[in-house]
């Protein structure tokens, strides 16, 4: 029989936007991730628990939840790092409607990537030769620094400006737009800069840096948004907006 030291006291959000925390005892294991804990609850204690994951190795961005008050990717978050005195409080991500338990509706989050013109706009067709871009050119480096986003929504859930203004495009969508602003092959920047310059765009960001603080990929959306602030102001001053 497991003693108290080898058990975790896990409370998990059950319900939708209205709901409550339900407590589950989960055995403590070595090298256990928060996703392992949630999976244990669902497989062994209550099969009706709804949550999302796919890759389990930090690639797909589907497993993000609020763990002890902080948004995290649960598959790469070790229990040892976050469980204060063996307690875990697991809730759905903030700033998105809850579908059920730990699953949130990310449709609005992804729609904002489209609204920020986050899709590549090619300037060449398939008959054209490869674009040659020097790896150390400034624009390539700026795109590189921001490109590894897995769309997990952790930054979006951590951003107070999203909470205050639900229309705000948010760190991930703006970060994505910034990678394309720096893409030599892309031809959509006029529309893109116009799309991110509005009321709910880059200038709404207060540089809280919660996004950068929490991004599991260690990206810096604050920097990308600052880049958009400069680019949109420059475009406006030169009559290109």
């Amino acid at each position: 029989m497991a003693d108290m030291a080898s058990m975790l006291d896990v409370s998990v959000w059950r319900g939708a936007d209205e709901g409550r925390f339900v407590s589950y005892p989960v055995p403590r294991r070595e090298n256990q991730t928060v996703l392992d804990v949630v999976t244990y609850v669902q497989r062994r204690l209550d099969a009706t628990l709804a949550y999302r994951f796919s890759c389990r190795v930090g690639m797909c961005g589907s497993c993000a939840m609020t763990v002890n008050g902080v948004a995290r990717w649960t598959c790469r978050t070790h229990v040892g790092r976050v469980a204060k005195d063996g307690r875990l409080r697991i809730a759905p991500l903030r700033n998105m409607p809850v579908i059920k338990d730990l699953s949130v509706d990310m449709a609005g989050f992804f729609a904002k990537a489209a609204r920020a013109k986050g899709a590549f706009r090619p300037t060449a067709d398939r008959t054209a030769d490869f674009a040659v871009i020097a790896p150390d050119s400034p624009r390539r480096r700026r795109a590189d620094a921001a490109i590894e986003c897995i769309g997990c929504g952790v930054c979006y859930a951590s951003c107070d400006v999203v909470t205050w203004n639900p229309d705000y495009l948010g760190p991930a969508a703006l970060n994505r737009a910034w990678t394309l602003v720096n893409d030599e092959r892309d031809g959509g920047n006029r529309e893109r800069l116009a799309a991110v310059a509005g009321d709910a765009g880059c200038h709404a960001c207060h540089s809280h840096q919660s996004c950068m603080e929490r991004c599991p990929k260690h990206l810096n959306p604050t920097e990308s948004i600052a880049g958009l602030k400069r680019a949109t102001v420059l475009a406006a001053l030169t009559g290109k907006l």
Partner: protein, 118 residues
């Protein structure tokens, strides 16, 4: 009940505290501004009127409030300059240290003023 909506965890880092200080100091400065204009307006009413207010500012409580005000202004000024650096200069990691620098500089300015009025 929506306890998880409380964002406590996502706000617990220096850049967010810096934002909170900036907003609080900005709002308090807005409150101070009318008082400041009132005192200045006394000058137009003549030397006696101004002197009456200035005599009032000699009190210890007012002195203490003045130091607080200088601190607010210093914190808001240095914090504002930091934000401008973060947003208009290319990102560098030293910008994290800037928060500590702004806090230090504002405290120094406040202390300097305290020594002067004391």
């Amino acid at each position: 009940m929506r306890p998880f909506r409380l964002a406590g965890g996502s706000r617990d880092h220096p850049a967010y505290w810096a934002f909170a200080v900036h907003r609080l100091s900005g709002l308090l400065l807005v409150l101070f501004l009318p008082a400041h204009f009132y005192v200045l307006s006394r000058a137009i009413q003549g030397a006696a009127a101004l002197d009456a207010v200035l005599a009032w500012t000699e009190g210890p409580l007012v002195k203490a409030a003045e130091v607080g005000l200088i601190l607010l202004l210093a914190a808001h000024l240095t914090g504002g300059l930091r934000l401008l650096a973060v947003e208009f200069l290319p990102w560098r990691d030293w910008q994290k240290t800037l928060i500590a620098v702004t806090a230090g500089v504002s405290l120094l300015i406040g202390l300097g003023f305290l020594i002067n009025v004391a």
